[in-house]
Symmetry: C2
Subunit: 380 residues, 2 copies
């Protein structure tokens, strides 16, 4: 049974930009959002109807949130699966995606194992606990390797390309709790937002992502790929979502190899930066889709409306300082440019502060517009 | 100079659905909204960051609002122009649209005079103060006449088609403060959202409206009219906006006569029900456009993205009762249907409770979808 819409309230563990855009998308449906976040006046706070100030793993606070809402969800992987599970058991409030989905995707080894078990193509990987198991991985998979912390990685933090064991020790300190992956030579980074509803799985269009220093800079949709690669990417994304036990949207990062293979790379059990283009780009946004999915409503249409490009507004400078923008007027004067500001009070280097989107017909023109808008905006 | 974006706060007199959708559109720009409305937990309250509970003509409350925001605007014609003017003078906070625009459009005689003076085509009209002036209007303009209260009309309330003086006395009681208009034989009711920015005037596409009992039921865009009528409608709308002294969007209702003339009928100095289709239908919505205009930012692109239809969800039944919806799941399962719920706690007959929108390629199919979605939803 779906929750009552309008009238339902969603509890979100995390109150960053994803929670903010979720609240913005929920409001037209008559759905209200309460967030749990330790930062006073967090980004999601203005459009949300309430905030519980607590750590993401504060079990009592999560239980308190559960008593005030119809369904619990999360927008940050730091959300504690045990706390969510306990809150669900104590209150009967459902949690989507499932705590087990969060548990699995928080651990890059378990994620790779689950995907491989389900027949989803992934880079060859080995569990690493110490120097011996790392050396065995080099022997099996070659050097250099992609070495990742099993937990706590985000935007490339906790990932490193390493040549040998001392190199890995330099970067990680300890060699316990890592996973080694064969280094994939790839043509493009792609991504698909997948969604699991009550009785249906669907996928959004394939996006093409440009990363620098392992942080997403731009997404262009449709991706400039062959029809075969597109079909393969959508098929892989569908299979990834099939592995999940709960409902909601999932951000699925993919790698296209030079011979047209598509590998699943990273899964986020939540709306994803590479899906922000959907707010203007697709019939239903990833945020509205997440609301629909977790409330058990029919999923919306995921079709692309126009060629769309998104560029992140990343913090500049050296230290932390109050966020004050210049150039917004210039950016908003460019044709079809939309600003999404996250309401963060402090800017720090490479911090995701907002994004801009543009839509149109021609990919090159749309990308030029959105990068010009991004470049017009700076922090004082 | 534009106000700081992100970071600006808008004060809105009125906290109904227009204020709600304004706050929803402001959030992505990093713009916050505080509303002034006498109803506790008014429709705009959840997405707004604050509400002042006061009457729309409470001068002290409007002044208090002015001290807390960067610009004042309104979403209801009951907003008091004198209170806005006084608040502007006392605090220096700008008001858009101008109090004079509100003063003019609140008075159907002054509105008709201002438009006629500017060369905008309107139905022939006469001022009516008493039985003699009404009889003179019948003599000049024929019978029946459209008779309107100069002030306080809304959704057809205060308008009547009358045959003679006794007929008018029956409906209005007093004959003071009325305006008589020649009854226009029209093919279609059209509307255009016009916008005045800092140095620019623009118009949204021409919509075709279906009214029943003088309440808007559906809007279809593009209107199914000839290119000549379209050009004329946009030209009339442009001329209407040129009459205005302040910035913002204006809802402009038009009548298409059988011989292809376009007459200006009613002007609303605010976002308008017939422009709700713009949320999904145009590159920039009327609500984002209003935010841009009143903050002195560049206007957004007004182009239509797809054929779009909107249907109002009107209250049913006899009396006032708690609003509880059935059929929303069915409606959201229809292709490309978007729900906009206004968060009103009580449903009353013909009260505007929400609307649904659908987009696509073919006008007939889109209209069929949106009316099916509307018809699927009912109040318990």
């Amino acid at each position: 049974m779906p929750e009552q819409v309008p009238g339902a309230t969603i509890g979100v563990v995390g109150g960053g930009q994803l929670g903010r855009m979720l609240a913005e998308a929920a409001s037209p449906l008559g759905v209200e959002v309460i967030v749990l976040d330790p930062t006073p006046d967090c980004p999601a706070s203005p459009p949300a109807v309430g905030q519980i100030e607590a750590e993401f793993d504060d079990e009592a606070a999560i239980r308190d949130l559960a008593t005030r809402v119809d369904v619990l969800t999360l927008e940050i992987e730091l959300a504690d699966p045990n706390g969510l599970e306990a809150a669900m058991e104590a209150t009967g409030t459902p949690v989507h995606p499932a705590p087990s989905d969060l548990e699995m995707t928080r651990d890059k080894l378990r994620e790779a194992e689950a995907l491989a078990d389900a027949g989803v193509p992934v880079a060859d990987f080995r569990r690493v606990d110490d120097a011996d198991s790392l050396q065995a991985a080099f022997d099996d998979l070659g050097s250099p390797l992609m070495l990742k912390a099993r937990r706590g990685g985000y935007d490339g933090r906790g990932n490193a390309v390493v040549e040998d064991v001392p190199d890995a020790e330099d970067y990680f300190g300890t060699l316990d709790g890592l996973v080694a992956e064969q280094l994939v030579d790839f043509e493009r980074e792609l991504s698909v937002i997948g969604v699991r509803g009550e009785d249906e799985i669907d996928t959004f269009p394939v996006g093409e992502n440009v990363h620098e220093a392992e942080i997403l800079r731009e997404t262009i949709v449709p991706a400039r790929i062959s029809d075969d690669v597109r079909d393969e990417a959508l098929s892989v994304a569908h299979d990834v979502v099939s592995v999940m036990e709960g409902r909601g949207v999932f951000g699925i990062e993919l790698l296209e190899t030079p011979d047209g293979e598509v590998l699943a790379n990273e899964i986020a059990p939540r709306p994803h930066n590479s899906g922000h283009y959907t707010i203007e780009g697709t019939v239903t946004s990833q945020f509205e889709q997440h609301v629909r999915a977790i409330l058990g409503l029919p999923l919306g249409v995921t079709a692309l409306r126009d060629t769309t490009a998104m560029a992140n507004l990343l913090g500049t400078g050296d230290g932390s300082r109050p966020a004050s923008l210049v150039g917004v007027e210039d950016a908003l004067g460019m044709p079809g440019v939309h600003l999404h500001w996250y309401g963060k009070h402090e800017v720090r280097p490479l911090r995701k502060m907002g994004h801009v989107t543009a839509t149109g017909e021609d990919a090159a023109a749309v990308l030029e517009t959105v990068t010009a808008a991004r470049d017009a905006i700076d922090f004082e």
